[in-house]
């Protein structure tokens, strides 16, 4: 890597700034669209030309979280005046709330499976990477290449064998099964990335800790781990993004019990007309966890994403 030793000039700074902002605006546009649609009424959401200014409504979110039935006028009268704000929104359409929707459940499945598999991919990946980096492992290079090679084939290519395997093992439509699957897919990435980060940490630090009276494991978590935190954080984000967004296996292997949000959100459309605001609301909420996770880890991320090119 080479570094420029002079500070960028004002013109360069402006140029870079404009470029970054333009790029950000272009990539953010679909996001803004989705978030805005979530707050539109169903009519506004399909208006043409699209409405930039609109009356914000929480109808999409209410539809997302509830199931509703059409009720006759007498039934509605018998119910009396709506008591809550969401009741009011639903009654205005001559509908009534029949119960909660399955969205929270699906969302929660995504959280368990996404973060669970990330956790295991990171813990196991770190352990394996440390061993590869520090111990004399027979056939080390071949093993590492083998681990990487599992990622060269698109995972979905083995969908059918996995489907059958899961059915035989009773893993179909279980959280454990999905966590296992995503961990397995992510593990090769995490071993490789974290191995690179640990290789960069000179072994002398651990030796110093051993002399200073610590055991090998204590030296690992007091000296190696803090220095690898950067790399581990960025690896965790990669793993989470994959597991969080995964669609194909989720469709294939989950249904009533362990279904995650990605296969669930499109099914919202079908319920009583094209309810785009509800879909958009679901998509907006779906974005949040990865965003929050990334923001929480961002101070580690900046350095990690350069893959250790910056000397500490």
């Amino acid at each position: 890597m080479s570094y420029s030793v002079t500070d960028p000039s004002l013109r360069q700074k402006w140029g870079a700034g404009i470029l970054v902002i333009t790029y950000a605006l272009i990539t953010l546009l679909p996001l803004v669209w989705i978030v805005a649609t979530g707050f539109k009424s169903p009519a506004d959401s399909i208006a043409y030309p699209p409405k930039i200014v609109f009356q914000p409504s929480l109808e999409g979110y209410v539809n997302l979280f509830t199931t509703q039935t059409r009720a006759s006028e007498e039934t509605l009268k018998a119910l009396g005046e709506p008591t809550t704000w969401y009741d009011k929104i639903v009654r205005a359409k001559n509908m009534m709330i029949a119960g909660p929707s399955r969205f929270p459940e699906r969302f929660f499945n995504s959280v368990i499976i996404g973060f669970g598999s990330t956790f295991f991919a990171i813990v196991l990946g770190t352990a394996a990477a440390y061993a590869f980096s520090r111990f004399r492992v027979p056939l080390k290079d071949d093993l590492l290449f083998f681990i990487l090679s599992t990622r060269m084939m698109p995972p979905i290519a083995v969908a059918i064998p996995i489907f059958l395997m899961f059915r035989h093992l009773g893993l179909s439509d279980t959280h454990a099964g999905m966590i296992l699957l995503y961990t397995a897919v992510n593990l090769s990435l995490s071993v490789w990335l974290i191995n690179g980060f640990i290789d960069e940490i000179p072994i002398e630090y651990e030796e110093a800790a051993l002399i200073d009276g610590y055991t090998r494991f204590q030296a690992f978590y007091k000296v190696v781990l803090p220095q690898a935190a950067t790399g581990i954080a960025s690896t965790a984000i990669f793993c989470l993004i994959f597991a969080w967004n995964e669609y194909a296996f989720a469709v294939l292997l989950t249904s009533g019990n362990a279904q995650t949000a990605p296969p669930f959100i499109p099914t919202i459309i079908g319920v009583g007309g094209q309810d785009w605001p509800a879909v958009a609301a679901g998509a907006t909420l779906f974005l949040l966890p990865v965003m929050i996770f990334t923001i929480l880890l961002r101070k580690h991320l900046l350095r990690g994403i350069t893959f250790g090119a910056v000397r500490k």
Partner: protein
Amino acid sequence: MAEVRLDGLTKKFNDSVALNNVSITVPDGSFVVLLGPTGAGKTTTLRMVSGLDTPDEGDVFIGGLSMKGLTPAQRNVAMVFQQYSLYPHLTVRDNLAFPLKSPLLKTPADEIRRKISEVAEILQISHKLDNKATALSGGEMQRVSIGRALVRNPAIYLMDEPLSSLDAKLRSDLRVELKNIQANLGATFLYVTHDQIEAMTMATHVGVLDEGKLVQFGTPREIYENPISIYSASRLGQPRINVLPAHLFDGAPENAHSIGLRPEQIEQGKGEDSLVTRVEHLGDQTRLHLSFKDHDLITVTDAHTRLQSGDIIKIQPEKPFYFDADGARLA
């Protein structure tokens, strides 16, 4: 503190022998300096004692107990590494506290504070205690890494060229401090250096390593005044000992192959002519580069000499060392 005994240590890396049957006894409370050129096995010796590496043959005894199979933590040794490896994610203070907080010592907090300020004082780094370890100069890092050893009270201090990147003044300050620690606390040191003054002033014993073999062990004066070989004689002395063919001067014994002359073994003003080729004024002394019968040699003379290059000066050996064809000292 304890006596440390290295017993027949042999270590091979692949096919090259880094240590070859090295036995050294480091008496309790002594200061043993290891000398030898680069690659002689000095660092390897320290690593064997610390337990970072295990010998292929031989054993290390600390306080009479075999260290076979013991981890570095279990041996209770402190080590200053050649590449001072401070923990980069910690401050200087936390680096110094690190060994004290280990499960081995579990020092109470006020004791840690007291030790750190005491050691920081000695090493003149009190004003840098809250720096990140990476925000230090090379010399400061080296002092922190010495400090990380000094906060402890181990069986032995192992130090690998600990003063190498310090300026002359600091170096002489710390030389005195380390020597005080050894003399007053009775601490035991095994110490690697290339520095002649460190070896002569601090050591109670010097061990000379040659390609993994211990070739001479004794007090610094013994090594200096009574070297067993050209190799040993070359370890100490500034400028280096001059080695010339024995027959250049009269009076060489029959089987002598070469003659070794330290500056103080060259008497000036008597004997045969030599040509002054260069005069170096070093301040406290002046070095003369001489050409004697087409052989170069270096000696010292008084600081205010009038001699210039081109002058002729008479020289003759005085109680020189004679060596045989293999470089071994003749009686």
